[in-house]
């Protein structure tokens, strides 16, 4: 068996375009996941019982079912309910974002619960409401604690985004498949795809380590 280096070089620009799209999906999904996760995480520990239960159901459902099935639900099942086609890009980001939101919610919950309860008491004793105390005192401190687990979530999501290739969305994995369908270069292309994922995840973990260090000194 031989390794065709030319194929790697020829395909690389196309794969990099795919990687760019992977980054785009990941970044948008993480953004969506962070917003959802923050609210769901806070709802999870609020004193309003229906809110707390709703948040628990959300987390259980999204963590207890495969992301692949969630993607299918949004891309294939949801259009049947809406009687309208869903754009693959929108479906990809929605599926990854709400899935990630469940994991981020648990990260937030843990980060908030790690803050000394004296902080909440101090805020409340000054006449601030629960929401004000959360916003100005608890959440900003929790953010510092949750940078490392959020980084892990970012990396996990970047890898999981390869699943959206199944709905034909042309990110890195799908690009690879398409090139292989044309050239039969499974070895060269899958190896290249793997290396590109590896470079991206390593870059994120370095970035997170750097941010963690910066936050520690501030």
């Amino acid at each position: 068996m031989s390794f065709n280096f030319d194929l790697v070089i020829q395909s690389f620009p196309l794969l990099l375009l795919g990687a760019g799209i992977t980054i785009k999906i990941t970044a948008l999904s993480v953004g969506l996941g962070m917003i959802i996760g923050m609210f769901v995480g806070i709802a999870r520990i609020s004193h309003v019982t229906p809110l707390r239960m709703l948040a628990a159901v959300y987390i259980d459902f999204l963590r207890g079912t495969p992301l692949l099935v969630q993607i299918f639900l949004i891309y294939f099942a949801l259009p049947l309910m809406l009687d309208q086609r869903v754009d693959p890009f929108v479906a990809a980001i929605t599926a990854c974002g709400i899935n990630s939101g469940a994991y981020v919610a648990e990260i937030f919950r843990a980060g908030i619960q790690a803050i000394d309860k004296g902080q909440m008491e101090a805020g409340r004793s000054l006449g601030m409401t629960w929401v004000q105390t959360m916003r100005y005192i608890i959440v900003p401190q929790a953010f510092k604690n949750i940078v490392p687990p959020l980084g892990n979530e970012f990396i996990a999501l970047l890898k999981d985004s390869s699943l959206v290739s199944v709905i034909g969305f042309e990110e890195l994995t799908r690009r690879g498949q398409l090139i292989i369908a044309r050239t039969y270069g499974s070895l060269e292309i899958w190896l290249s795809v793997a290396v590109i994922y590896l470079v991206m995840t390593l870059a994120i973990s370095r970035l997170v380590a750097y941010m963690e260090k910066r936050l520690k000194t501030s």
């Binding site: 000394d116 004296g118 902080q119 008491e121 101090a122 805020g123 409340r124 004793s125 000054l126 006449g127 601030m128 409401t129 004000q132 100005y136 005192i137 900003p140 401190q141 510092k144």
Partner: protein, 239 residues
């Protein structure tokens, strides 16, 4: 200023407060002492609803502490100082002090900072305005915490063992600030183990044991002539 009627508090099966009646007058300094586990901190924490009573009534400055809105309203008038300071570590000393006046009282940043600097001057820490709490000693942190509570211009100040977490050499600087506050006519309720301070600054001494007020009166009388056996027993252990 503070009116407490038949206050009871249970944690699960354990009744910590067994029917407390207490009236604190404006400008009065009430010092609460008692063995650990006697319920004295719980009593203090019921005065601003950090601890929710099982039954009974607490009225502060004419506001009955029931319902979220009333409680928030009353808390604006009740300053609290904690054993472990509970300063906000991600904010500077100045931000710690100005946050609540700006967010709750809705006063401008300039005005809040002006008041904050005056208060920092009062507690002798004007040069620490830009520092972060973890950079300060325990005594300094507690003085900032007092300034933070005072910035809301409260009518009552509650102190929950304010010197218990301090190294011995820092106790005096905090007590001095509290004493000057008492001299200015602040209404205060203080849970403490500092008997010298209680005798010197308190208008009234409350001895609490097993969830009840066992004895109360002017500090000198209670210290020199305790009427109750349990009070005598307590003093014999600590003095």
């Amino acid at each position: 200023m503070i009116d407490i009627k038949d206050l009871r508090k249970s944690f699960e099966d354990h009744e910590v407060l067994k029917g407390i009646n207490l009236h604190i007058n404006p400008k009065e300094v009430v010092v609460i002492i008692g063995p650990s586990g006697s319920g004295k901190s719980t009593l203090l924490r019921c005065m601003n609803m950090l601890e929710e009573p099982t039954s009974g009534k607490v009225v502060v400055d004419g506001i009955e502490l029931n319902g979220e809105a009333n409680i928030n309203k009353a808390r604006e008038e009740i300053g609290m100082v904690f054993q472990r300071f509970n300063l906000f570590p991600h904010m500077t000393v100045l931000q710690n002090i100005t946050l609540a006046p700006m967010k709750v009282r809705k006063i401008s940043k300039e005005e809040a900072e002006k008041t904050a600097m005056e208060l920092l001057n009062q507690v002798g820490l004007a040069d620490k305005a830009g520092a972060y709490p973890p950079q300060l000693s325990g005594g300094q942190q507690q003085r900032v915490a007092i300034a933070r509570a005072l910035a809301m211009k409260p009518k009552v100040m509650l102190f929950d063992e304010p010197t218990s977490a301090l190294d011995p050499e820092m106790v005096k600087e905090v007590l001095d600030v509290m004493k000057s506050l008492a001299d200015k006519g602040m209404t205060m309720a203080i849970v403490t183990h500092e008997m010298g301070f209680a005798r010197e600054v308190g208008d009234r001494l409350l001895f609490v044991d097993e969830g009840q007020i066992i004895e109360q009166g002017p500090p000198k009388e209670v210290f020199d002539n305790p009427k109750e056996e349990r009070t005598r027993l307590f003093f014999s252990k600590i003095l």
